[in-house]
Amino acid sequence: MNGHTIGQSVCPREQEIVDLVVSGRWRDDGDDGLGPHAAQCDACAETLELARLLQDERKALCEEAPVPSAGAVWWRATIRARAEAARTAGQPITLLQGIAAATALGLFAGLAGAVWRSVAAGGAWFDRFDDLVLRSAAAPTTLILPLLLALAACLSVAPLAVYLATADEP
């Protein structure tokens, strides 16, 4: 700093000085009269000095800036975007597999429970089966066919769904 006192107010010509320094058009003896003004005005003198100092620093830093090439930055950004897209695309698959696994587990647990109750009941299982067959025979045929079809569909589609969700493709 050149010994000017610290400016206590804002001068309306400060911005003109900054603009000239930033654009590299500042001249102490310029026709605009800003040079003599800056020599008289504390605020402008301070602004001029700091603007020059910071401009010099910016130029020096820009010269020594070890920036990578645009191609390298673009390439890294592309790779990263792809990795992020892959992660995002992978999330629904994991979710679907989780649902399928939970469904299969629930189905297995339900079947195991039903079998266990039947075994625990002993011979009553056969009686109940006979009873079921008799009741089924008594039921209207219009209901039996859709029920059987639905059961068959569930039995065939459920394992297929689990397979498609979890197994690797050939």
């Binding site: 610290i6 401009q55 800036a65 920036v67 890294r76 892959a86 992978g90």
Partner: protein, 188 residues
Amino acid sequence: MREMTLSELSRLDSAASEADEAFQMDEDAFRLFYERTARPVWAYLARMTGDPRQADDLLQEAYYRLLRAKTAHETEAHRRNYLFRIATNLVHDLRRRPRVDAVQMSEQQEHADPRQADAAGRLARRVDLSRAMALLKPRERELLWLAYAQGSSHQEIAETLRLKTSSIKALLFRARQRLATVLRERES
């Protein structure tokens, strides 16, 4: 970790091509913009963090965030301001994290070998400025750099730093006084 199925891979492949499309500009436009802005942005990051290595990392991150941003820019000036805003946010984020083995710029510059008296004088001024800037508040550093080094208008500074345009003049005045005071104290 499980291996991917072919169907997953094909889905990921399409996602990869979508990733290219997700950028807000094409490669040629990016190259042009980068060539014009990379060095000033690096300088800003280096001065705001005080660490050139951090500036290297943040530069890549800043451009990545710019490319992925959904914001539409009417002019290159808008895009440049937006880039500086991203850079400012990155510096703020960095400040919230503990710093590990940062290479201070002032120390680096002090160890440089001045070959000429003129170069030595310039170097001394840069070290003084570096140390003085380090004593300022982050907001003051940002204001001064954007106004006097980058040459941004008050409106642009307000957009970059998310401040009111009307408050920039007063804030800049106080920041300028602080820097001048610190520099004078260092001289005396």
